[in-house]
């Protein structure tokens, strides 16, 4: 496939995603919307496979196996889950997106040549910043969603857990995170990369535990928005417009859902 064609196909996938959401504006069109979303995802996957086209059988086996295993797990969960458990299912799914973002950023860090962002120890600074943002937001989404899931499903008490001086702790962690990002941009070591991930994981837990179970739906939509920011951050790193566009229109949801949910 020629490379000029690829961005157009990603654009097509993005348009399909937008139409999928637009379909939800009324119950009559909503099922068609969902179907359009599936087609968009299929286009994005096939395009990526066509353009990356690995030539060794091991890689193809990994791809086929990964999609088969993940797809099977997903399909089984979707069939078995009780409809009343929907909010916690969505929270659990968000944590997967967050973790996936962290892993993809890690992959880009270990093999920067393959992503065209430099070579180890000499990665373009812009990519490092984007990568750190993707990792930090992805990791916060991951642990935050797990806590939200645990609280919604009753595996953890819904009561708010407030640590003494939590604002100071959070502030210190946030400052530490910024310092780590700056150091990471200068030294580009794997230790710093994983330190950013670890600190963000901790921050994700601390942000969500003081929030009571009743406020969780709002938190879930906020985390939904975060997973979008993470995807957009990775999209900038990889220079992939499909990821940027799809990630970007997550962001406003954090505001819209609480308001319109309250209205409903």
């Amino acid at each position: 496939m020629t490379n000029e064609f690829v961005p157009l196909l990603y654009l097509l996938a993005s348009v399909f995603f937008i139409l999928a959401l637009r379909g939800l504006s009324s119950p009559e069109t909503s099922r068609r919307g969902n179907f359009v979303g599936m087609i968009g995802m299929a286009i994005a996957i096939v395009t990526t496979l066509a353009v990356a086209a690995p030539d060794d059988p091991v890689t193809w086996a990994m791809i086929a196996g990964g999609i088969a295993v993940g797809g099977l797990i997903g399909a089984v969960i979707a069939r078995r889950i009780a409809m009343t458990a929907m909010p916690e299912l969505v929270a659990a799914f968000h944590s997967l997106v967050g973790l996936a973002a962290v892993l993809v950023a890690g992959s880009a860090f270990y093999a920067p040549e393959a992503f065209g962002i430099g070579e180890p120890g000499n990665i373009a600074i812009q990519s490092l910043v984007e990568m750190s943002l993707g990792v930090a937001i992805g990791a916060i989404t991951f642990t935050g969603s797990i806590i939200a899931f645990a609280k919604l499903s009753g595996r953890m008490s819904g009561a708010p857990i407030t640590l003494p001086g939590r604002h100071i702790i959070n502030l210190a962690l946030a400052i530490g995170l910024v310092v780590l990002v700056v150091l990471f941009c200068q030294q580009q070591t794997a230790v710093l990369f994983w330190a950013i991930a670890a600190l963000s994981l901790l921050l994700g837990i601390l942000i969500i535990i003081p929030i009571g179970g009743a406020d969780m739906p709002v938190v879930v939509s906020m985390l939904n928005s975060y997973s979008g920011w993470a995807a957009a951050g990775i999209g900038f790193t990889l220079g992939n417009t499909a990821l940027i566009v799809t990630g970007a229109w997550w962001a406003p949801r954090a505001r819209s859902c609480p308001t319109s949910c309250a209205r409903a």
């Binding site: 959401l21 939800l24 504006s25 119950p27 909503s30 969902n34 599936m38 995802m41 994005a44 996957i45 496979l49 990356a52 890689t59 990994m62 791809i63 990964g66 999609i67 993940g70 797809g71 797990i73 997903g74 399909a75 969960i77 069939r79 889950i81 969505v90 799914f93 968000h94 973790l99 996936a100 993809v104 890690g106 992959s107 880009a108 270990y110 393959a114 992503f115 065209g116 962002i117 430099g118 070579e119 373009a124 990519s127 879930v220 939904n224 993470a230 990889l238 220079g239 417009t241 499909a242 990821l243 940027i244 970007a248 229109w249 997550w250 406003p252 819209s256 859902c257 209205r263 409903a264």
Partner: protein, 144 residues
């Protein structure tokens, strides 16, 4: 109220413009110097992508507002499924080709991280779309 909103929108627009300008300055200061190091990104690329990003934020804002409140749970489920577009990144990571400047160890780390991300994203794609379908078919039955 409407006056308050328009003030907020004005500030938002200003913030976006300032951020864009700052980012452009920051990158013209650094990335051009780095391009020789094989960066491949330039300030122009960034500004282009940033424009797409900002426009997409606006599209998302208005599209999500048009969703009826009754369909909010399916909305969360379907947007969740679509956010697994991160699968694109996972596929690129799995397909990293070992050889050339890329060392064996780092290449395999990259590939295995990509594989793990691929499995997670696939759970999300299939789970998200199928569960939305199930939910929406319930809405249909209720209406009749």
């Amino acid at each position: 109220m409407s006056k308050l909103l328009s003030m907020r929108q004005l500030w938002l627009t200003l913030a976006v413009l300032c951020f864009g300008l700052a980012a452009e300055n920051f990158i013209t200061g650094t990335a051009f110097a780095q391009e020789a190091a094989g960066g491949g990104h330039s300030a122009h690329d960034f500004v282009f992508r940033f424009s797409i990003f900002v426009l997409a934020v606006f599209v998302g804002y208005y599209v999500v507002w048009s969703v009826t409140p009754a369909l909010h749970t399916p909305l969360m489920a379907v947007t969740n499924a679509i956010s697994s577009v991160i699968v694109v990144g996972a596929l690129l990571a799995v397909s990293v080709e070992i050889g050339g400047a890329l060392s064996e160890t780092n290449g395999w780390i990259a590939k295995l991280l990509g594989l793990a991300a691929l499995v997670l994203a696939s759970v999300n794609i299939f789970g998200g779309f199928l569960v939305t379908q199930r939910m929406l078919s319930m809405y249909k039955r209720k209406e009749r």
